[in-house]
Amino acid sequence: MSQPILSLKNVSKGYGSKGARTEVLRDISLEVREGEFVAIVGYSGSGKTTFINMLAGLLKPDSGEVLLDGKPITGPGPDRGLVFQNYSLLPWLTVTENIALAVDSVFPTWSQEQKSAHIAKYIAMVKLTKAAGKLPRELSGGMRQRVSVARALAMDSRVLLLDEPLSALDALTRANLQDDISEIWQSSRKTVVWITNDPDEAILLADRVIPLLPTAPATLGQAIDIPLARPRDRSAINHDPQFKALRNQLINLLLAAKEKSRTTVSKKLVLPDILPEDISTPNSIQYLTRRGPRRRSEEKREELEVAS
């Protein structure tokens, strides 16, 4: 087997400073081969964005290594295109200008015509030629996400990282875009890491699906290979027993981890440090006699009535 293009070795990552530090990801190890389509499925808030930001080079792991071609990743690079979860288009630039920003910085030596042709090609690829001159706020959510995908594709990077690219869209638009992107991928066969919260989407698109288990901190679960033949037809695949089995396997893995994390959490209950207030005396300007809330820890003496 050839050397993996991307690999993570025992990577951990947390947020917050020393005292209030919470670990989000622990002991993540993964290898992605060139041309492979890997999907990571996880619950919301389990650390998916954190994971992909480390691959993109926007975050540094606390421990462990993130390698590209065997060399540590020190920052973002043109070899890794990223599609952000919230599109992150610059609102003051048109569709063309947003993509041009990427093209200009990745291919600075190209002539103006070469760049324009390149940009137009990718806008056409995501079927947005008519909206090329529009600003992001004039586009629908699905169109914005297409622009975001086109921007990443136009960088012609070796690896494409996508952070829940379709999660914010309605089911129908989502299905359409899944088919479009799947088609684009089949013609280019780039290495793809696709983050999603939808098990069906992951199985439909990927060669290999890895659940991000919602233990606290999250860890990667057992990878599931998807041997389904391509192109995969979404309506036919729904009745495919193999697809159903894979889906059950994946969902069970995720649910089991959730159950486990639920039972292992234990919390110490602390009663509020406050005693009932006597509200029978009115508390107005004239009657400043009533005391404020009393705290048990501040009471020096406690009188107990003892029945004699």
């Binding site: 973002p76 890794r80 610059l90 003051w92 920003l101």
Partner: protein, 296 residues
């Protein structure tokens, strides 16, 4: 029904301010001194007219007196009868020209400082105390320093007349240094408030520093910057009066001070009204531009 409501609303929005203005004028009238002319016979048997002013504030002219005394300046607003006797809009124009120069100087200096403060923690840490100390200093305090700083400045035209002297430089300096703080502070806040998402885009796309500045930071900060620009303009207009008074330059402020010394108190009130009105118009224009920018 709807129309009725609209009419009522419109009527109120006109009537209430009108009533308030009328009320103020009434109070003004009550406070103002009134001239009483009495005819007396003096010790030699001649009849003389003695005009005495009396009232709560005897020297304050009444609204009517103010109007009659100011009429010439308002009805002929562009007249030039002498260096310090010009129509009120001519004076306003002179003041506005100076304000514009000082104001653009303020923006030119203030905006980059704001960016540096917003971008660099170290720079911000180093200069924050200085800025906090200089910010509240009054224009009256800056002007003498400006005079000293630029005492050597003298630009003469072909005829040997000074076209730009120390007092001009000091005036510009004072306006600029007083007016730049809102721009500095708002720009700094705006730069710090640029969403992390946009910065991440810049990083992932590997934008150069200049590209990041012009394509990401400046557009993202623009609404904040504009708020600063608007506040700065207000201060520049506030400062001009003080500067003109101290330097004796022709302009609304200079005219005000000169009329005070000449005991033409009615003209002072005229000046105050004009200064206020111009300030209001400038602020309206700027907020119009600002809201255009925010919806754009």
């Amino acid at each position: 029904m709807n129309l009725n409501l609209f009419q009522k609303f419109k009527l109120e929005s006109v009537m209430l301010p009108a009533l308030a203005i009328l009320g103020c004028c009434l109070i003004w009238y009550v406070i103002a001194g009134k001239s009483v002319t009495t005819v007396k016979t003096d010790d030699w048997g001649d009849t003389v007219k003695v005009t005495k002013r009396s009232g709560i504030s005897a020297d304050l002219p009444t609204p009517v007196e103010t109007w009659t005394a100011s009429k010439a300046y308002i009805t002929d607003p562009f007249a030039k009868r002498g260096e310090l006797d010009q129509g009120i809009l001519r004076f306003t124009w002179l003041s506005l020209k100076l304000v514009a120069q000082g104001y653009f100087l303020a923006l030119l200096i203030g905006t980059p400082i704001g960016f540096l403060l917003g971008l660099s923690k170290k720079f911000s840490m180093a200069f924050d105390p200085i800025i906090q100390i200089l910010r509240p200093v009054s224009p009256l305090a800056w002007l003498p320093l400006g005079m000293i700083l630029f005492s050597g400045v003298k630009v003469m035209d072909a005829g040997g007349r000074t076209t730009f002297g120390a007092s001009d430089a000091a005036a510009l300096f004072t306006i600029a240094i007083c007016a730049m703080w809102p721009t500095v502070m708002n720009t700094a806040v705006g730069v710090r408030a640029v969403p992390q998402d946009y910065l991440n885009v810049a990083k992932v796309l590997k934008l150069s520093r200049t590209k990041t500045l012009w394509k990401v930071l400046v557009p993202a900060t623009l609404p904040y910057m504009f708020t600063g620009f608007r506040l700065s303009l207000g201060i520049a207009w506030l400062v001009i009066v003080a500067v003109e008074m101290l330097t004796g330059r022709p302009g609304v402020g200079g005219f005000l001070w000169q009329q005070y010394n000449a005991n033409s108190f009615a003209h002072i009130i005229l000046c105050i009204n004009v200064i206020g009105l111009v300030g209001y118009v400038l602020d309206r224009l700027m907020s119009l531009a600002e809201s255009k920018l925010k919806t754009a």
